[in-house]
């Protein structure tokens, strides 16, 4: 298989990560410090998610890796290959077939089940960081449940723009206690976070792990008169016709013509396989052929 230990990390490192994961599940939304290791991929490329996956995988798992919702983006390919090589696990692109899914920036469209685990790659785990750069201060704010600064920020958005001007990494409150960064998923995905699967979040460079047990209460911050809205492009997928999926906008030519396609490539492919057809599917198949 390889000269490295199963799933790359040594056992002592895995134990340290596993302890952090358990405390994370016991204190949903709280960021547990952990001694992140240098990985053979750069910080920012998903080292936190990779370490959490490495500590979670068993040889019986089937792993799916997505970046921007797609299995074939270069970094998703690279991480999938890493675990094929170091853990010898089976891999899949089908959401339903996967027992562990590592993701960057998306939650799959298909509802996840109780026997699945979703691992997020997190760049900046601290939701208050852009309001208060000091870690000493933000830690104090979490301990005192002092989240006024965040509400002020959101309210300033409303007074300036007439709407909350945060479209991704939209902060949530977990079980009425901790304000948490959901990682840079589009806010369209926020409501999916109350799910049946276990959700684990790893931030390598920032040395934090946090978690959401299944069916955990996750509320996107908002105001009574400006309720949270999970928005997406107002358009069906041009490939599969889906009305309910998050869409990528793709520029087609120099004239600026665009099409909208599912960001979740597996969702789109399985819908097309089931016979769903979008407005531009026929034209595209010709181009590809």
């Amino acid at each position: 298989m390889s000269d490295y230990n199963f799933a790359y990390l040594d056992e002592q490192t895995k134990r340290m990560i596993r302890r952090a994961i358990l405390k994370g599940l016991a204190i949903p939304g709280y960021q547990v410090p952990f001694a992140s290791r240098e990985m053979p991929m750069p910080y920012g490329w998903g080292t936190g998610g990779v370490q959490v996956s490495a500590a979670t995988l068993t040889p019986d798992d089937t792993l799916k890796v997505i970046d921007q919702g797609a299995d074939d983006t270069t970094n998703a390919v690279s991480i999938r290959k890493f675990f094929e090589k170091t853990a010898g696990v089976a891999t899949t692109e089908e959401t339903a077939q996967a027992s562990v899914i590592q993701t960057r920036h998306r939650i799959p469209e298909e509802a996840l089940r109780e026997d699945q685990i979703l691992v997020y790659q997190v760049p900046i785990p601290e939701p208050l960081r852009f309001l208060e750069p000091s870690e000493v201060e933000t830690r104090k704010m979490h301990s005192l449940e002092e989240y006024g600064l965040m509400h002020v920020k959101l309210y300033e958005d409303i007074s300036k723009h007439g709407a909350i001007a945060t479209s991704y990494a939209y902060p949530v409150k977990v079980e009425g206690r901790y304000v948490m960064d959901p990682s840079p998923i589009p806010k369209f995905d926020n409501p999916k976070m109350e799910m049946a699967a276990i959700q684990l979040f790893g931030a390598g460079r920032e040395q934090r792990i946090y978690a959401l047990p299944p069916y955990c209460q996750v509320v996107s911050l908002d105001f009574e008169d400006f309720p949270f809205e999970a928005s997406k492009a107002d358009h069906p997928c041009d490939m599969c016709g889906a009305e309910d999926s998050y869409l990528d906008e793709v520029i087609m030519d120099d004239a600026g013509n665009r099409m909208f396609v599912c960001s979740d490539t597996d969702y789109c492919a399985s819908r097309r396989a089931a016979g769903h057809v979008g407005a531009q599917a026929a034209a595209l198949e010709e181009t590809a052929a």
Binding site: Y4, Q68, N75, G162, P184, K187, R205, D248, L284
Partner: protein
């Protein structure tokens, strides 16, 4: 366009193959060996060892070769390798007073026991490109002297005898390990020094320079700078005593800094400390200045709001592997987030236009 996103796997393989070809360069030029890098680019090797936190000149040289001379990439290779190594134990603290010095200078005294030893320094070279070196000129044979065998005492100890310099409190406590425990703030001095010695040379240099230019100026003199080899010893439980397991080259800098005194302390000199793998004097002097600046609280000084006084700022931004990773990760696809921003900005513009339009109508 949409189709072009596919094929990530083949694209990666091709990129790796091309990279290997570029690394080798013109095949008509002899390949550089790892030993050549180790022997002839030794200061680069030192930097990779220091910031990679692994003392192994051969591996550092290999990393430089593999990284095509990109120092941060080489440091990253060493860090990623280092983290997989099993730990057999911890060495005893090295005794720098017993260093076999190749270089030892003091700026605070004209002479001192042990003498001023210039050593292999660029300091007084004229920076003129040596075209003879380009012509592969031979190095002239230099006459060798007798190596000194007696110990070289630390300069600051002489000041300490008069009580003029603040005494560092020694502790038997095992210091924390930055590579094994998450950084917790506020950090103590051992952790700060660990972060600085593996911190990016350019960052630490600029931070130190900022203190000299007045951002928390601390009037540093180089009390002593020494470079040489020290023995590394390890306690073997089965034996019950320490044995020497090897020697490493270190650069140590102690600065002597002014201190006005505080409500409780009479005026006294204070210290900054730098200790770095290999011959790395710029780094160790920089480290000593930044160390001193970070000690403001302990020494009862004012927080002047200077960057070099801000422990969080310095410690969270000194590591070039973290910095380069996060900086460069913005190359990765972010189109999902960008899409959500696109929709938001269109919505905000649409609403803004709608709000403006009726007003204009009313005005008309």
């Amino acid at each position: 366009m949409y189709v072009a996103v596919k094929g990530g796997e083949r694209a990666i393989d091709n990129a790796h193959a091309w990279l290997a070809e570029e690394r080798r360069g013109d095949l008509n030029v002899a390949e550089l060996s790892v030993v050549q890098i180790r022997e002839q680019l030794s200061l680069a090797v030192n930097r990779v060892m220091a910031e990679g936190s692994l003392y192994d000149p051969d591996l550092a040289a290999l990393a430089i070769k593999q990284a095509r001379g990109d120092m941060i990439e080489a440091i990253f290779l060493i860090r990623a390798y280092r983290t997989t190594l099993p730990r057999f134990g911890a060495s005893a603290p090295v005794e720098t007073a017993d260093m076999a010095c190749d270089r030892r200078i003091s700026a605070t005294f004209k002479d001192a026991p042990g003498g001023q030893v210039l050593g292999p320094t660029f300091d007084y070279t004229h920076r003129l490109l040596d075209f003879a070196l380009a012509a592969e000129g031979e190095t002239p044979v230099v006459e060798r002297g007798e190596a000194r065998t007696e110990a070289t005492p630390h300069i600051t100890e002489f000041l300490n005898k008069e009580g003029l310099i603040q005494t560092e409190v020694s502790s038997e406590e095992t210091p924390g390990d930055l590579t094994r425990e998450p950084l917790e703030l506020p950090a103590n001095r051992p952790l700060r020094l660990q972060a600085l010695t593996r911190g990016d040379e350019g960052f630490v240099l600029s931070m130190a320079y900022s203190t000299q230019r007045g951002y928390a100026r601390n009037h540093a003199f180089v009390g002593e700078l020494r470079i040489g080899k020290v023995a590394v010893e390890m306690e073997i439980p089965e034996l019950g005593f320490a044995i020497e397991i090897g020697e490493i080259e270190l650069t140590e800098c102690e600065t002597v800094n002014q201190f006005q005194g505080s409500k409780t302390e009479p005026p006294q000199f204070t210290r900054g400390y730098g200790l770095v793998f290999g011959q790395s004097e710029r780094k160790s002097i920089s480290m000593a200045l930044v160390d001193r600046a970070l000690r403001w609280q302990e020494l009862g000084e004012d927080n002047l709001g200077a960057p070099a006084q801000d422990e969080e700022f310095v410690l969270y931004h000194s590591d070039n592997i973290q910095a380069t990773g996060f900086l460069e990760h913005i190359k990765l696809p972010h189109y999902v987030d960008f899409q959500s921003e696109l929709e938001l900005i269109r919505k905000l513009r649409r609403e803004a236009m709608e709000n403006v339009a009726p007003v204009q109508e009313a005005a008309e």
